[in-house]
Symmetry: C3
Subunit: 171 residues, 3 copies
């Protein structure tokens, strides 16, 4: 069966040459890292809820009645919240530029290295921030590594974009 | 006109077999749910601004002069802010995994069920949090439902990614 | 070499008719605007860190020892934080709807106009909020412009999605 007849067929098929396809190892890495980063964030959300129940502090009046707790916060809750807030400030940016970066000419090993290093840096960040609190610069190194990876990818994407603009306008 | 000649033509066309295409009903559902979730968040932003004007509380000195208000907050403003903050903590994760999930082998009805249930859960969450404040567990159910949907989709994507790694490395 | 033989080939190639491809000028604009928005956010992150060091205020006990500072905040730090927080509340929504909007039938000039106006509005917002503080309505205009662009794009995507549903169900 030729590819052409498949394209004309009614059944939905994946092109083997598509960037966004489970046949592209780079995209599979994106899928895996994306899901693990979300699961990591969900773990911090669950940890926040556990800490709230443990220290009996909630956000709203209607929760206080149900949980037999008081409206307020606790240092242990705030610490997990700050770790989660740092995720919110960093991970969406990575997931956007990580998706776009798949379209940039880059070898497979570089994609795997950047994406998995980012994942490990963010997992490390959460652990030293909210679970086993280590003295600085442990958290700073994790944060800095993830920050620099996104910075590098953004600059790479920007340069590729500008080169493409230049070609199109014969600059 | 065959698909092949269209591919070679100069006019930009959409492949009928592409995952990300308005010819794919799953992607159209993603488009609709994505836009409705953003419109829902924008509604909470407008509601926050309305509450700020109503209670004459603003964030900055330069706003206080213009709005004839004081720098500070009010419980009614804070409640809408918390509802919006919960959106920020949850909706981007859904939109990332929801995009990636389109590439996972899943029947159309499951996509429609997951995505529209998520949308309804988040709309319900905003309403019971910021508009008609209901006693718990109404908000907890809405939050939990949206949380579990993203959890399920992330695990599904992760498993598909690992299976693909396994195939490639003949494990 | 025909497109068909390329599809069957082993080498990964980009379709010239694909929406998400560096051969599509709309997608290149998305790439450039996405990377510049992330670089803009990273600049605010660096600015926050600089302000924290300058005013010797940090978030955690373990940072206080390393930075010879106190746990707390400062109005100058809080101002940059609010500018960054506003980015967090707005830019991910744009990047999602901006990606989806590439699949909507829209002329190139409209994409370039919307995306670059959005970028300029967000850069202007950060400058008048956190660097050269200007009286209102300068910040309000920047925020409003970026807010309306995302609103317009979301409504456009929603209408295209509903039209597609209508066609499919012969409504």
């Amino acid at each position: 069966m030729s590819s052409n007849s498949m394209v004309n067929g009614t059944k939905s098929v994946h092109n083997t040459d598509s960037v966004l396809s489970i046949h592209n190892p780079k995209f599979v890495t994106y899928m895996v890292v994306c899901s693990l980063l979300i699961l990591k964030m969900w773990w911090l959300t669950i940890l926040t809820i556990i800490k709230r129940f443990k220290h009996k502090v909630v956000l709203n009046d209607e929760d206080a009645k149900t949980a037999n707790a008081t409206v307020g916060s606790h240092p242990a809750v705030e610490r997990v919240r700050r770790a989660f807030q740092n995720d919110l400030e960093n991970i969406p940016a990575f997931l956007f530029i990580g998706l776009v970066y798949l379209f940039v000419p880059a070898p497979n090993w570089l994609i795997h290295l950047l994406y998995y290093t980012y994942l490990l840096a963010r997992i490390g960040h959460s652990i030293v921030y909210a679970v086993y609190i280590l003295p600085q610069p442990s958290r700073g190194i994790c944060f800095g590594l993830s920050f620099i990876i996104v910075l590098y990818m953004s600059l790479h994407v920007l340069i590729v974009g500008f080169i493409d603009y230049g070609k199109r306008h014969k600059m």
